[in-house]
C-alpha cells in the first residue's frame, strides 16, 4: 500500500465533480506527491485513466473494492 500525501473522497459524486475536485487538489500539490481518491461513479475508472494520460500525472493504482473505486495519482 502506497503512503499517500493527500486524500479525496469523491464517493456518491458523478461526472464531472470527481475529476474537477481531483484536478483542483492536484494543482495545489508538489511534484511526486500522491493523491488517493475514492469514487463510486462507474465512469470514474475511464475518467481517471484519461485524466492521467492527458495530464501526465501517473495513475499508480486503480482498484475496485466493495463497489468503490480506489485510485492513487502521483503528480508529475
Amino acid at each position: 500500500m502506497t503512503d499517500t500525501t493527500q486524500f479525496l473522497d469523491a464517493r456518491k459524486l458523478n461526472c464531472p465533480l470527481p475529476i474537477l475536485k481531483a484536478k483542483k487538489t492536484i494543482n495545489g500539490m508538489k511534484s511526486g506527491e500522491t493523491l488517493k481518491i475514492l469514487a463510486t461513479d462507474p465512469g470514474a475508472v475511464r475518467d481517471f485513466e484519461a485524466f492521467a494520460n492527458q495530464t501526465g500525472h501517473k495513475l499508480l493504482e486503480s482498484t475496485t473494492m466493495d463497489s468503490e473505486f480506489h485510485f492513487i495519482l502521483q503528480k508529475a
Binding site: R11, K12, L13, N14, C15, P16, L17, I19, L20, K21, K23, K24, T40, D41, P42, G43, R46, D47, A50, F51, N53, Q54, T55, S67
Partner: protein, 378 residues
Amino acid sequence: MELEHIQKIALIGFFGATIFGAIASRTQFCTMGAISDWINMGSLTRFRVWFLAMGLALVVTQILYLTGSIDLGESIYHTTSFTWLGYIFGGLLFGIGMTIASGCGQRTVVRLGGGNLKSLIVLLVMGLTAYMTLRGILSIPRLFINDPTTWQFSDAGLASQGLHDILSRFTGLSPSNIAVILTVIIGGAAVVFAFLDRQVWSRFDNLLAGIGIGLLIAGAWYTTGVIGYDDFDPIQLEGVSFISPVGNTISYLMTFTGATINFGIAIVLGTLFGSFIYSLITGNFRIESFSDTSDLVNHIIGAILMGFGGVLALGCTIGQGITGMSTLALSSIFSLGSIILGCIFTLKVQYNLLDDLGFWKAVKVTSLEMLGRKSSDE
C-alpha cells in the same frame, strides 16, 4: 394479437433503442462528459467520438433525403417558425442544467438503467418540467419568450429553416445540390475531425460509440419515414430525442389504459431497457443515491433547467445536437452552440467554486475568464 401500425413502428424503435442504450452504457457516450474531458483535461477524444456520431448521422440522413426516402419538411426541425431567442436561451439553460445534473437527458436515462437513483429524480423532474413547458403552466414563459421573437421564414418565401432551402435562396443552386455540398463539408469535416485522433480509430469502444450511435440515430429517420410510411395510417416523421419524449413517457405510463404509444416513448423505454440489461449482464448494476442535500438540490435545479431549456431549444444534445443537425436545420446550430457554451461556463464555475469564492464571485470570475480578462479582485 394484431399490432397497430404505430405499435409496430414503436416496437422497432424499442429494439433499436435497446442497442443504443447498451452501446451508450458500455462506451459512456456522454456529451457533457465529452465537453468536460475537453475543458478539464484537454482531451478531445470523446468530443471527436461525438462528432463521428453526428457526422455519420448527418451523412446517412441526407442520403435518405436526397434519394427521396424521407421528407425532412415533415419533421419538427424544418418548420418555418424560427424562435431564435428560444434556441439560444433554452440551449444555454440546457447546457447549465445538464452539467449540474450529471448529464443530459440521454445520459440520465442510461444512468438510471445502471441503477443511479439520482437519475430517477432528474428524469421525473425534467420530464414533468418539459411537459409543463409544452402543455402546462410553463408554456406561459415559453410563449412570452418566443412570441415576440419568432421569425417567420415563410414570409421571406422560404419553404423551411433547413440550410438547403436558405442557401438555395441565396445561391440559386437547388436544395438538393446544397444538401450534397453541405453533407460533404459538414459531415466530412466531422468524420475527419474524429479520425485525426488515433484514440478514436484504434479503440473498439470509441468506434462502436461513434459509428453505432450515429447509424442508430439515422436509423430512426428510416424507421419512421420509410418503414413507417403509410398513406392510410400516417405517423409523424420523428428522430431520437430525450426531452419531450421523457415527458410523454411519464404521461403514457400514468394513463396507460387510455393511451397510445408513440416512437419517442419507445425510444426512451428502449434506451432504459438496453442500459439496464447491459449493466446487469456485465455486473455493473449498482444502486447510487445522493451524497447530501446540496447534491439533491443541484440535480433538481439541473433537471428543471433541462426540461424548460430543452423544450425552448427544441431538443437536447441528441435531439438538436445529433438528430437536428442530421437534418441540417438552422435551429440546431443555434441550440447546439448554446448548449456547449452553457456547459463550458458551468464547468468553469464549478471549478472556481472549489476555491470557496462563493457562487456570485465564481460566476463573475468565470465570466471574466471566458471574456479573456482577469478579475480585478484577484
